[in-house]
């Protein structure tokens, strides 16, 4: 059984996959992932007559998005992965969206001040680095950006299937944005 965790933005999504097939999926739209995620995980497992011991792999969306939101998913994934010694695979949300396309694409995720963007080739490999563009910079950005918020969870699982898991201790969120602080 694979547990899928996505807390990167306003939708909290948890899902269970068995042999790559989606068997249950839950969604809560809120800005209180820290209150909702573990209760929802508990309910998801209970409703399916499962315990954490049935989970053999974790897929987690590592960002970009809300810094705190992303950390919640990553910390939960790391903690389960460490405690149960199971593999954890992380994927960026933008790369996950790119799986819906078979050509070169630029995928974007908007927040109130701008957008995170990532450009992918037909093999869904990132071309150049992820960027965060302000709303002003976006106006001057000439290429077409696809703002698609749908991901296909089985496709993500299938894409990650042959990729090696990340060392649990080295799993980090993908923030893209730098911290604004004066030295």
């Amino acid at each position: 059984m694979t547990l899928y965790i996505d807390t990167h933005y306003t939708n909290l999504v948890l899902a269970l996959l068995n042999d790559g097939k989606l068997i249950d999926q839950r969604l809560i739209e809120s800005n209180k992932h820290s209150e909702n995620t573990i209760p929802l995980l508990n309910k998801l497992l209970n409703d399916n007559n499962l315990t954490i011991d049935n989970i053999k792999e974790i897929i987690v969306i590592i960002g970009p998005g809300s810094f705190t939101g992303v950390r919640i998913g990553v910390v939960i994934a790391k903690t389960i992965g460490y405690a149960k010694n199971i593999p954890v695979k992380g994927i960026s949300y933008l790369q996950a969206v790119s799986l819906n396309y078979s050509e070169n694409v630029i995928i974007g995720l908007k927040d109130k001040n701008g957008a995170f963007i990532g450009e992918f080739n037909p093999n869904h490999e990132l071309i150049n680095d992820y960027l965060y563009l302000s709303n002003i910079a976006l106006k001057d950005y000439k290429k077409a950006i696809i703002y698609d918020s749908a991901v296909n969870i089985p496709k993500i699982a299938s894409f990650l299937k042959d990729l090696p898991p990340i060392n649990i201790h080295e799993l980090k969120p993908l923030y893209v944005k730098r911290i604004e602080a004066e030295k």
């Binding site: 820290s34 705190t68 990553v74 903690t79 389960i80 405690a83 969120p173 602080a181």
Partner: protein, 330 residues
């Protein structure tokens, strides 16, 4: 009764710390990674950097805590975590880790107030006896409380504006001293004399404190005084800032007739404060408890100590436990 082993997690500011504490008193293991060097570059804690660093090390700290104790999660009786007060983003990292462990191992979850943790740090090497007076002095808090029993607090007074530790950090920056300010001011003050007349914070009959006026006076001096003697100013500042604490504690010892004083929080590491409080307690024939250095700064052992009475009373938290920045004790 069986021995109780609490795994405690503390991530309220810039230390990621975990501990296993037996029966609320014996520290089986304690593992802390500090971010002081990183934040020192900015002259203070940058909340987003703190949250990021907690996330990076959280499972490493858990691993070393378990290994140092030579224990498995299955041996643990309950999981305790600081949920207030502190930096929300930082607290959340520890809270999510604690809730996840609680879910995986089906162990009770205990949310602990960080400030109460500082008080219970004194129950590790000593034993708290009630009633007692508790002076909490840290970067975010300056409070004087009466503690009648486990978790029974009555507030006598608190700061009306800045906390004493915050004031120390600000003054340290004004004197071009590095973060964390407290220890560096203390070092400099030892070389100086109390020659500067500084305003007495709250000169009234209450138990309240105030540090913003003192801070403003130092800002004025550092901006306008030409031949500033920094060591003398550090000494003058320290005597005024700590003097405010001793005056209010003295009043409390006199008026309540309580014979025990507990100092809690990061500023309790200050040697001048220790010296002054020792004198005061001798004068009033009161017992003084100050945690040793290891348990006076932010650490998870104190959270494990503070969680123990809650464990005995079965005051557990549920999975909706969330961070709160406010942290009122009473």
């Amino acid at each position: 009764m069986n021995d109780v082993y609490i795994l405690a997690i503390e991530s309220s500011c810039d230390e990621t710390s975990m501990a296993i504490v037996k029966n609320g008193k014996e520290v089986i293991s304690l593992s802390t990674t500090t971010q002081i060097k990183v934040h020192a570059e900015y002259g203070g804690v940058v909340p987003e950097i703190a949250s990021r660093m907690h996330t990076e090390v959280i499972t490493l700290v858990l691993d070393s805590t378990l290994k140092e104790a030579n224990m498995k999660m299955e041996d643990i009786s309950a999981i305790a975590v600081t949920y207030t007060p502190g930096l929300t983003g930082s607290l959340i990292v520890g809270i999510e880790c604690a809730k996840t462990l609680s879910l995986i191992y089906n162990k009770p979850l205990i949310g602990v107030n960080h400030l109460i943790g500082h008080v219970y740090a004194n129950n590790i090497d000593n034993t708290l006896k009630y009633p007692l007076l508790a002076l909490i002095v840290s970067g975010g808090h300056t409070e004087l409380l009466i503690m009648e029993d486990d978790y029974k607090f009555t507030k006598l007074g608190e700061t009306l504006d800045d906390a004493i530790g915050e004031c120390y950090d600000k003054v340290a920056r004004l004197l071009d001293l590095k973060y964390p300010g407290g220890p560096n001011i203390e070092k400099l003050a030892q070389k100086g004399k109390p020659t500067y007349k500084l305003p007495v914070p709250v000169n009234d009959n209450s138990y309240n404190f105030s540090y913003s006026g003192l801070k403003s006076a130092i800002i004025n001096l550092t901006h306008h005084e030409k031949n500033l003697n920094k060591a003398d100013l550090a000494r003058s500042f320290e005597e005024t800032a700590i003097g405010e604490l001793t005056r209010k504690v003295k009043k409390a010892l006199k008026e309540t007739n309580i014979k025990r004083l507990v100092i809690a929080g990061g500023v309790s590491a200050n040697q001048y404060l220790k010296k002054e409080m020792t004198k005061l307690c001798q004068e009033y024939n009161a017992e003084l408890l100050i945690p040793k250095m290891l348990y006076s700064t932010d650490n998870a052992a104190m959270i494990g100590a503070a969680a123990y009475p809650l464990y005995l009373k079965k005051e557990f938290s549920d999975y909706t436990l969330n961070a709160s920045s406010n942290g009122d004790i009473c």
